[in-house]
C-alpha cells in the first residue's frame, strides 16, 4: 500500500513513504458496517424464579420466608413467616411504582434485620389486576435487597394437580 519512491536527483536520493488513502477508507467503512451489524443495542438479563412443586419456592428448613401479596398495582401486603407462623406483617402503598418499590425495599430490609439476614426466600402471590411489569419490578426490588430465592404462586386454571 505504501508508496516508496526514490527521488530522481542525482546528488541526493530521497525515500518517500506515504499511505494510499483509498483502501484505508474502504477498511474503515467495512469496520463501521461490521460494528453497526454486530453491536448489541439491547442488553437482556434474567430474573430467576425457582418453582418448587409447581406453586412455591423452596423454603429453608427452620428458616424464614416472606409472603408477598400484590393486592393491586398500588398495594403490596408483606408477611414475614418462620415455620409457617407469621412473625411480622406490613401493608405498603405507593401511588407510583417507584414509591411502591421504595416502600417494599424498606420493609424487606426491616424483615431481613429481624431475621438476622437469614431471610432469602419470598413467595409472591399476584392478583389479576397487577400486570407482569409490576410483578417483575417487585421481584427486582426484593433481589436487590438480597432476597434472591423467589417463587410465584400459580392459582387457577391450567395447573394440573
Amino acid at each position: 500500500m505504501a508508496n516508496i519512491t526514490e527521488g530522481q536527483s542525482s546528488s541526493k536520493r530521497a525515500l518517500v513513504t506515504d499511505v494510499n488513502l483509498v483502501p484505508f477508507i474502504d477498511l474503515l467503512s467495512v469496520c463501521i458496517c461490521f460494528l453497526l451489524i454486530t453491536a448489541v443495542w439491547v442488553h437482556l438479563g434474567i430474573l430467576e424464579v425457582k418453582q418448587s412443586q409447581g406453586t412455591s419456592a423452596s423454603v429453608q428448613k427452620g428458616g424464614f420466608e416472606m409472603a408477598v401479596t400484590l393486592v393491586n398495582p398500588e398495594t403490596v401486603r408483606m408477611e414475614l413467616r418462620q415455620n409457617n407462623r407469621v412473625r411480622r406483617k406490613k401493608t405498603v402503598v405507593g401511588k407510583s411504582l417507584d414509591q411502591l418499590q421504595g416502600s417494599v425495599a424498606k420493609v424487606a430490609q426491616k424483615f431481613r434485620s429481624f431475621s438476622k439476614s437469614k431471610l432469602t426466600t419470598a413467595l409472591l402471590t399476584p392478583n389479576q389486576s397487577v400486570d407482569y411489569g409490576h410483578l417483575v419490578a417487585i421481584m427486582d426490588t426484593l433481589r436487590r435487597n438480597e432476597i434472591t430465592n423467589l417463587g410465584v404462586v400459580a392459582t387457577g386454571k391450567g395447573v394440573v394437580r
Binding site: V42, L44, D131, D140, A154
Partner: protein, 172 residues
C-alpha cells in the same frame, strides 16, 4: 541507513511538486497526507469498543410484539429453551403452541413439547443432570396471574428454574 530528513512528513509532497514542475504541462497532483498517530489512536479506540461490547451470552431472539419489563438486578443469560407469550399466543422456541387460554385449559401439548426438549437436552448431555432451566419472555402488560399459571404448568414439566427475560438497566 535512511537519513532523518527523508522520513520527514511532506517529503512525498515535495517529490510530487518537483515532479509536477518538471512536467509543467501535465495535470495537477492532489496531495493528501495522513497522520499515523491519529490512525493508531483510532484503531485503539475501535479495539476497546469491540472488547467492551463483546458478549459471550447466548443469542436470544425477542419475539415480535413483546415489550419486556425492566430490571436492575438481572443476571447473565444462559442457554436454555425459551417460551414466549406474545399477543395472546404462546410459543416454544419460536414455534406456535396456540392461544394462552387454550394452552392453560389443555396444557398437555405444552407438557409434551417440554418433555421432548428435556429428553433432547439429556441425550445431548448424558453426563450432566438436567438443570430444569427455561427462558420466559412476556409482555409487561400481561396480567401477572396468567404468568403465574404458565409457570405452574412449566414447573410440572420439571422446569423448576424459570428465567424471566428482562431489559437490563443501570441502577440510579
Amino acid at each position: 541507513m535512511i537519513g532523518a530528513d527523508i522520513l520527514k512528513p511532506g517529503s512525498f509532497q515535495h517529490h510530487l511538486v518537483a515532479s509536477d514542475h518538471k512536467k509543467a504541462h501535465t495535470k495537477r497532483t492532489l496531495l493528501v497526507s495522513l497522520s499515523l498517530t491519529a490512525m493508531v489512536d483510532m484503531f485503539a479506540v475501535l479495539v476497546i469498543f469491540l472488547l467492551q461490547s463483546f458478549s459471550s451470552s447466548p443469542e436470544v431472539i425477542i419475539t415480535k410484539g413483546i415489550e419486556l419489563p425492566e430490571a436492575v438486578s438481572g443476571s447473565e443469560m444462559k442457554d436454555a429453551p425459551f417460551l414466549s407469550l406474545a399477543k395472546g399466543q404462546l410459543f416454544l422456541n419460536q414455534e406456535l403452541l396456540g392461544s394462552v387460554g387454550d394452552v392453560l385449559k389443555k396444557p398437555n401439548k405444552l407438557m409434551v413439547r417440554l418433555k421432548t426438549a428435556r429428553q433432547k437436552w439429556q441425550k445431548d448431555h448424558p453426563e450432566k443432570n438436567f438443570p430444569g432451566e427455561i427462558h420466559f419472555q412476556a409482555d409487561r402488560s400481561i396480567p401477572s396471574t396468567t404468568i403465574g399459571n404458565i409457570m405452574g404448568v412449566v414447573s410440572q414439566a420439571h422446569y423448576y428454574s424459570i428465567q424471566l427475560a428482562v431489559l437490563s438497566r443501570d441502577s440510579q
